[in-house]
Amino acid sequence: MALKIVKGSIDRMFDKNLQDLVRGIRNHKEDEAKYISTCIDEIKQELKQDNIAVKANAVCKLTYLQMLGYDVSWAAFNIVEVMSSSKFTYKRIGYLAASQCFHESTDVIMLTTNQIRKDLSSPNQYDTGVALTGLSCFVTPDLARDLANDIMTLMSHTKPYIRKKAVLIMYKVFLKYPESLRPAFPRLKEKLEDPDPGVQSAAVNVICELARRNPKNYLSLAPLFFKLMTSSTNNWVLIKIIKLFGALTPLEPRLGKKLIEPLTNLIHRIYLFFSQILHHLSAITLVCFSWLIAFLFFITVLISLSSGMPNHSASIQLCVQKLRILIEDSDQNLKYLGLLAMSKILKTHPKSVQSHKDLILQCLDDKDESIRLRALDLLYGMVSKKNLMEIVKKLMLHVDKAEGTTYRDELLTKIIDICSQSNYQYITNFEWYISILVELTRLEGTRHGHLIASQMLDVAIRVKAIRVFAVAQMATLLDNAHMLTGNTQRNGICEVLYAAAWICGEFSEHLENPMETLEAMLRPKVATLPGHIQAVYVQNAAKLFATVLKSQEGNTDSTTAQEASQLMIDRLPLFVQSANLEVQERASCILQLVKYIQKLQQKDVEVSEEVCALFAGELNPVAPKAQKKVPIPDGLDLDAWINEPPSESESEDEQPKAIFSKEEPKHSRPRHTEVDEKELARRREARKQEQANNPFYIKASPSSQKVYQETPGVEHIPVVQIDLSVPLKVPGLPMSDQYVKLEEERRQKERAEKKKKDKKKRKEKRSGRGKKHDSGPESEEDITPAHMVDIVTEEMPENALPSDDDERDPADPHKALDIDLDKPLADSEKLPVRSHRAAEVLKSPAEDEEGENVSSLEPKKKSSKEKREKKKDKDKDRKVKMLFDRRLLRLISVMLTFIFLFYSFDRKAYDIQGNLQDGSQVVVSVIFENKCDSFLKSMEFNVLDSLNSKLQRPEGSGPHDSLTIPFQLPPGVSNEARFVFTVQSIIMPQKLKGTLTFIVKNEESSTHEKLDFKLHFTCTSYLITTPCYSDAFAKLLESGDLKSSSIRLEGVNMPFHHLLARICFHHHFSVVERIDSCASMYSRSIQGHHVCLLVKITVSVDAKCDEPTLLGNVLDEIKQTFSQC
């Protein structure tokens, strides 16, 4: 033996170790890939050897290669081998490799459960430590469930080294297995007062992380943390605790008051220290960082706590001043953090930050994008009516200067955000805003064209006073459209043309020269725009046409009107040929209409009124959520079919997803028009309805914008690219700067007028109190909007339900941890102890029920013994033990281990397969453990179906075919497979015979083997623990549908609550109510049978169930459980 080791060691001398590999890679810079592939081949050879040292070395090298980006998932099993080495040296490498390479979908993880459990309970603290560290990286829900109890035990380990790690890893366990939180919480709380500071800080860490996500459940811990805060000297811990209080105080305002004093003391303490180094701030070294963190942190928390307490404004002023020093510092990190802290103060004390506007604007010039973004964030909260124009002007300058498109786009969105925030609260001059939007269209290559477009639409619709101006601007924009469409493929800015065309059309009565705009809209170049924009062009050309006709009404000279018709008839055919269906349809519709009108015109018939009626009606903005908030009238079932369900073939010719998909059926837009009064009235109605139903017309939320982007565009049409590297000034457009000046002048005038008035007043009143108005800057209220702006509020349906849809992301893992921690622990919540499947054991019968099914299996046992005799003759080396789930079957045979884990109603499977037989599926999990020294493969599992229970086999296989188990078993390895059974009736227990066939392979030979077994489906396994309220329970008993029966449990002498716990645990019941000497219990079968028990302290059980046979069987099983204890 010793010689073998020596031999292995010598072999090892010649292997490449990690250092050699690294050196090799560095020496083969040119052909690295080739070198590494030879190395991987070597590693594969090494992994085949028996020597664990060689294997560990290979795994170590693989870990390095994994980091370089090579796939090593094929070696996952070897990693597990090295992990299970008894030597710490190798174990360490194995766990490291596992933590680097394993992730949740690595299938070998489930083989590690037992190994990890063994390491966790190792006498060597470093073994345990290394296992905990590894586990923290690859813990899966299964591992968390199986190991939760072991880790919880480690939280009370004698060594602080282990306690600390165990406490920290519990957080990961909670995330993966939320059920463990309640049982583990008391111990976690205990650790807050652990004598070891490391453990204490770990516990604070975990609870803070938990509480940050669901603060309300942790309010009761506030006094404890308060004590910790005043006593702890560890800055890391203090910061965490204060963070926790930051989350708790919004829920409990009294807490804030209580905190002020100790916090102020703390700040004072830190500030004293801090002020010593403050004068040479630039020299701050990393040593001071933790102090600095604490300082920054405490001031922000203090500020959030003291909001609403006026006497603290002085200290906040002080904080802001100190922050200013940080921001002015040359150290970029301090600058960034200062801005960050500033934005926190801004939320509660906007006034005190606003005075530092100059500084923030300066930061916009910083080279560092991180800092610029922070400054932008701050600006958003700093604008007021007074400074909006100035700030936006500054930002516009930056837009011109900005280099990267990402930053420029960010600036653009921020400008729009700033201006449109709280319903355009800060905009006093909408003409200015429109001109800003128009200026923004100069941006080339921005992604945010649709954003600008939606703003234009929104403003034009909601601010009635601005429409004249907006229409004029949009008309110019349309006229210069060629400048915006330089590069259609990549230019998102052409989206604004969509808004421009719509505004010009809809509010065409304000147009100075509609004929010109009409001409601009029908230029051949328009056909290169994306389809959805063309469609709007065509539709709005028709609106313009109507306006032109109207303006010519009563004019004896009808040439202009006829010119307009001719123009339409000349240009529209281009759109009729469009590849886009929407464009084509609208164009052909309108073309026919215009042709008809032309005929009428030639007969000198007045048509303008009728044509205008087509587009009559005012459009009102609708709130984005309005549709959702329309209450459903009583008696309306939205899910019911109105007509017979359509046959399948109809769905095939469904329209492609287009913007107007929500439109009314097309019958309202006849192709061959006959303009008579009735028809027009009908169309008018249809149009109104369409507009009312079509959120697209009015709403400008980004989501609706997205929809029309999806429509097929004209990207494939080659476009002559116009290179416009110089920023464009769209000719003829007034610049926003002019507006700034105008606005200034206006304000000054107003101020002057006001002064005059004041003077007058003063003269009249002879009181000198009006001085304030003279020199001080004008206050917010003084600024009146340039013209009376009527911001139309968005329409909401009548009796809409006010609700904040502040939903949390359902995928958030922390949501599952929102658990009430103050409720006492129920028996069923205890963490599973030593088992393969924790969740299962919660429901499964007890361990001491082992003998339950012994009788049923006795004959089998004998036969397997016989078999063993035979086997021994054949192959004496092979030694295999079988284990069983105590509840289901006990079977000792020669080859394999079966552990029947659970039978439970699998709702998911039911859902997926759409099986309509309710509750007829049962999942059986089987663990196969190979206890022999040979390799097992080609395992096939088969069960002889009974009439009642059938194994679900893949489609296409016969009723007697066996299922192939999708894995092979190397020696000493176990793995789990699940089988689904369909069960018709669940009222009787069942036994199913089955066989497992497999090939046993060793070096010399491979043999085919067979193993018989029996599956025992008890009635208990069909019951699911279902909670039931006592009133529902009483109703159930009163209903009279239930048959009753009763038993006495003989020879039971255990405390009553043990008895109840046992029934809950083994037979899946839950306690409904307990009154002194008796308790009512409830459970439900997977097929919905109710089972009610009344258990008395005299150990008699009265039971009721709607299925007497099921009840009889369940009671028999309960009796059996207790007869064995």
């Binding site: 170590c60 870990t63 980091m67 710490f88 490291l96 600390k164 992380e209 970029q332």
Partner: protein
């Protein structure tokens, strides 16, 4: 903390530690993007970045970049402090650490990190305790390996 990356000025990854389960493909993608972004920044710029919905905190020590990703609410300076602590630990353990130490003893670098951070949270704020734990684990390893070296010596004398 979500993950920590160490990479050289040439963009070569020297160490990676992930505290969130991600597939190899995602990890590679994130690493590549992040290394590019960080390397593109000029030396005088601040150590913080907003990237996707994460906060990136990085610091350059000699030719090595230490880069951590945290969630939005975490404190930047604490993360910076964690990076610095780790560098100090490496420095103490290797004795004025350089990039080559980490390349050739990358498993040691991992062991130190694992003693310092667990599941993305700082588990030990005392440098002394971390080093003590590492030294003792190393001692254990040496004792185990002692047998191996003794055997080697025996073989060589036999020969």
């Amino acid at each position: 903390m979500q993950f920590m990356l160490l990479f050289s000025r040439q963009g070569k990854l020297r160490l990676q530690k992930w505290y969130v389960p991600l597939s190899d493909k995602e990890k590679k993608k994130i690493t590549r993007e992040l290394v590019q972004t960080v390397l593109a920044r000029k030396p005088k710029m601040c150590s913080f970045l907003e990237w996707r919905d994460l906060k990136i905190v990085y610091k350059r020590y000699a030719s090595l970049y230490f880069c951590c990703a945290t969630e939005g609410q975490d404190n930047e300076l604490i993360t910076l402090e964690i990076i610095h602590r780790y560098v100090e630990l490496l420095d103490k353990y290797f004795g004025s650490v350089c990039e080559l130490d980490i390349i050739f003893n990358f498993e040691k670098a991992y062991f130190i990190l694992d003693e310092f951070l667990l599941g993305g949270e700082a588990q030990e704020t005392s440098k002394k305790n971390v080093l003590k734990a590492i030294e003792q684990a190393d001692l254990l390893q040496e004792n185990e390996m002692g047998l191996f070296y003794a055997l080697l010596a025996a073989v060589s004398t036999l020969n």
